[in-house]
């Protein structure tokens, strides 16, 4: 079944049109990557899906249901987003417990304490962190909190916006392993934005290359591993990536 489908999605910020006719189909349980340089519109696509960029035309369907332009609680339960910068995405004056519990309060879900502990355990955060503030945590721990927050409502789909680019390589490895395990255990669907092709190779099944707001190529990860991308721009990205991995 299709978890997420975009049809002819045009997203604008004011008078500027950011994306042009973006169409994608992502199957349930699939891990899909959007790659491209800054300004290519890849993060904007995630924002539109999450409801943070409401000026769009076209169609966004999640698990067969079309998404409206406004805030949609039912939608929040199936689709959640993890942001790039764990230093900026957590409320500095809320404890981990408050951050994680907020979604439960909004949705009127009880059993708060047990659910917070359960999610913390699943992202590998020790119980002792529960009443700490973000500034008392390391970057990797904060990103675990951000992932835990996204998982509070037991969503089916996670939108990941460069989830590891602000982290050290060794911490990046921990978070990537965590995401891979969570996807397996909870049968999640991932849509990840990144400019790091090796990360795509580790975590994803398929990828779409974006440039100037358009998708220029969709390929399987095997083609990426073999270096078989067809578009000149995709090959350019691959070469830059290969040049630094000696």
């Amino acid at each position: 079944m299709t978890a997420l489908s975009l049809k002819d999605l045009d997203i604008s910020y004011g008078d500027t049109q950011i994306t042009h006719k973006v169409s994608l189909d992502i199957a349930e349980g699939e891990s899909f990557a959007l790659v491209g340089e800054s300004g290519s519109g890849k993060s904007t696509v995630l924002k539109a899906i999450a409801g943070l960029a409401p000026e769009w035309t076209g169609e966004i369907c999640v698990l067969g249901k079309a998404r409206g332009h406004g805030v949609d609680r039912g939608f929040s339960r199936i689709c959640q987003m993890v942001f790039q910068d764990p230093y900026g995405s957590l409320h500095p004056r809320k404890t981990v417990d408050a951050t994680l519990g907020e979604a439960l309060t909004i949705h009127g879900i009880g059993d708060r304490s047990a659910r917070v502990e359960e999610v913390m355990a699943s992202v590998g955060l020790d119980r002792k962190f529960r009443f700490r503030f973000p500034h008392q945590l390391s970057g990797g721990q904060r990103q675990r909190v951000a992932i835990a927050r996204a998982l509070m409502l037991k969503p089916k789909i996670l939108l990941l916006d460069e989830p590891t680019s602000a982290l050290d390589v060794s911490v990046q490895a921990e978070i990537l392993n965590l995401l891979k395990r969570l996807r397996r255990e909870q049968n999640l669907t991932f849509l990840m934005v990144t400019h790091n092709l090796p990360v795509v190779s580790f975590l994803c099944d398929r990828l779409a290359v974006m440039r100037h707001g358009r998708i220029v190529e969709v390929a399987g990860v095997d083609e990426l591993k073999r270096g078989d991308l067809k578009e000149p721009y995709s090959r350019e990205l691959m070469q830059i990536s290969a040049a630094h991995a000696s």
Partner: protein
Amino acid sequence: MRPLLEIENLRVTFPTARGDIDVVRGVSFTLGRERLGIVGESGSGKSMTGRSILKLVRAPGRATADKLAFDGIDLSTRSEKQMRAIRGARISMVMQDPKFSLNPVMTIGEQIAEALLTHKRLPRREVNDRVHAMLESVRITDPERVARLYPHEVSGGMGQRVMIAMMLIPEPDLLIADEPTSALDVSVQAQVLDIIDELVRRKGMGLIFISHDLNLVSSYCDRILVMNTGEVVEECRAGELMNATHPYTRGLIASIPRLDETRDELPVLDRSAWAKA
């Protein structure tokens, strides 16, 4: 030939409520006119090492060294005023993020000119010519227009090139680049590093390139120091990084995913193994 920079037993200490903490613990190295990379994770002390060369460690932090000599000058005995004559003119530093390191209320042209005029008195026309020439050498195609812009009007990649221009216009002998590209896109990263590389080679400068990215450092440097918890754990030629022997270095290399990744799980560093008691 006399080395450009000699450091022996550098220590940087910060006082905390629970006693002093050493963030750099006895780092020693010498640098000629070459490209030296310092890699390590956050908190490994690599940036503090770079900053203490310019004596930019802020109080209450303290930097001490048995020897800290630049081109025969003993930096540890220099006063703040004497250091100002060295900073920029002889040793300069490219910071991580152009958004926070450029002055938001000065045009780009004025900022670059200021870097030059702090150390030299020059007629205005010559200053303008040199600013434009410098902007051209960092591959900004229309320097006259860009010189009139404010930092918020340019992209991150261009901002970083502006900062490089500003740092190189007084023609220093040593450039310290502290994560010069971490705030940039991959495609722009290579461009910025190529510019630094070309200018450093052409002017025969020394370069200290501080980064957490092992691959990047190994492709742009001659020699690499790997730092962990304030100490240099390994030193090697850039080309031999893949044969590194220290478990920490090996762990770092192994944890980077590859383009043709086949591992189901990435190895994770066991920090307890070499964390000092």
